[in-house]
Symmetry: none
Subunit: 195 residues, 4 copies
């Protein structure tokens, strides 16, 4: 039906606007107009402006979780898993820039409110990645593939690197250099055991 259409249109429009202008700088009227609906319809489909934001965040992280879950469980080396994680994020930054920008642009200030869904979701997500990385590092260390110590520090550092690249790709203007390969080699040299 039309209904589903319009609700989705609102979400898409709001995502783009929140991403480019920020939550506070985007008015409900603007969302409505650019969605081709009237303002009250926003309130028919959602509880309010905040609710639209929350719904978007939930969607983003649901999708993100699927992508994480779809990463290959079996790989020749543990480092390949790390490499896959980096590639995935670069892929996301390139293919779903709106979603990434939305998080970057809005979550800092939303985070001040501890109980905000945004906060909660982001924390959960970061923990998932940290766990993922720690497992790789530990297994790699155990098998003699890697020489990564201490594991928990390095997991954080890899997370920071990924986030930093994400941020640069998302906020930077028309990044032309493709440093993905270099980034992975950079990590490989730092982590893989020298013989």
């Amino acid at each position: 039906m039309m209904a589903k259409n319009k609700k989705q249109k609102i979400i898409n429009t709001a995502t783009k606007l929140f991403a480019t202008q920020g939550f506070d700088n985007t008015t409900t009227l603007q969302i409505a107009k650019e969605s081709g609906v009237t303002e009250p319809l926003l309130y028919y489909h959602f509880h309010g402006k905040e609710a639209i934001f929350t719904e978007i965040i939930k969607n983003i992280f649901q999708e993100y979780s699927s992508l994480l879950a779809a990463l290959p469980k079996k790989t020749d080396t543990e480092f390949e898993k790390i490499s896959n994680l980096i590639s995935l994020h670069i892929h996301i930054a390139e293919n779903r820039p709106d979603e990434g920008r939305l998080i970057l642009a809005n979550c800092p200030s939303k985070l001040k409110n501890d109980s905000h869904t945004c906060q909660e979701i982001i924390n959960r997500q970061q923990n998932i990645i940290i766990s993922y990385l720690k497992e790789c590092l530990e297994k790699g260390n155990a098998s003699g593939e890697l020489d990564a110590h201490p594991v928990d520090h390095l997991a954080i550092i890899l997370l920071c690197l990924i986030n930093g690249i994400l941020r640069k790709k998302l906020l930077g203007r028309k990044e032309k250099t493709a440093y993905e390969y270099t980034a992975i080699e950079f990590c490989r040299r730092a982590l893989v055991k020298r013989n």
Copy 2:
């Protein structure tokens, strides 16, 4: 005099508020009240809310530039320079969190406007760091100390890592683990030539 006092008070208050709540979420009334002055005085000292923001940004980068300029020009190794840069940023995150948060919280959305002072300043700054890093890497490569290729990609990657750490330290809740040393070692392993 009182005047200087009050103007500075306004800037300090605004910095804290912009950092914690975001620019859009901070009202001129709030700035005035928490500064112990009235709103019209804001307009006596500054051209408007945006002008206060711009002034703060300028101050931040001026200070930041001084810190960069104060980094030792002569070091035993090139890697030491890189290590110094990382340390400096961690130091900034720990000692001037407000300023860092202000940038993180507001610049993404301010960046949509290309001509914004904020944008301009940030770009200039990032270029300075890129140059700094490239110079280190090139010299290190030339002297045989480092094995870093390609230089321009790696400069970006190091910048991303620094930014990622900064972001984590600024937005994370009471970070207890001190992974500074590990971060530097991580980079050293990745960059320094193996014999």
Copy 3:
């Protein structure tokens, strides 16, 4: 049928809501939800929110008229008729509080509009009571039972007393004292001829 059921449910719900929250403070959505129907059904059964209100008012006064008409025509004394009228109103206040409250809560402001049904109906009703009282007083005076002068003033005063008691019973919080008997004795002393 279901239909009658639902229409009646709407009226009951609306009565309770208008009584407790006031007409303006009650939304059609609230009426619909608490009636277990959807808003458009309200518009199928009634012309609009005002029409629901008018219907309720009409019902209330129809019922009220029946009660008045059912008062005994033949009594030993004229004062007994007055006493019956007082008792009737106290009975109404105790047994049909919603209806009474609805009038008290909404009619004042509805009265600003002279042509409003509410106004019309209330006026008619008050005139009926005034007539009832005047007849009692006149007959009582004629027969020597009462000593009530001037009749038209006293009719108004008795009406005011009844209204006052009604209002107190309806708006007061859980009235415990039963002053009905005292109220009647009060009037008896004031009206019945002393021998």
Copy 4:
């Protein structure tokens, strides 16, 4: 200054509008326009629409309290005090109709919220009158002037009568008959001891 002027003008306008249309039916824009100011000024002087209402209620009851306090403490008879109370209320109804109507029109629905200032103030006031009346009746009974039993029931009944008259005078259309004298005589006959 102008300031005091405008704030007072807002209160006066709001009083009239709340009295004639009810709180919910009066918009802030209407108050502003009829006060000759702009809407934001309402919010400069008051916390919001409710705050205007509360302020008005407070003023009304303060004034009302002064009038009550100004009633003669020394009178020839106790009944005279009761008579004075009735006269005072009729006087108020005739000279300050707006204030009275405001209470009648709005308090029923405001009363649903127990904690509302309105509720609190009205209760306090009714208690003052009840006490006043009980004291008169008790003293009169003791001195043999009155024959009023039971005192607490009669106090309530007198209060109801006063309220009923007030309501009639305030809501009725251009009451022409002056039944004040009859009302007092009515009470006198009911209360004063027959010899």
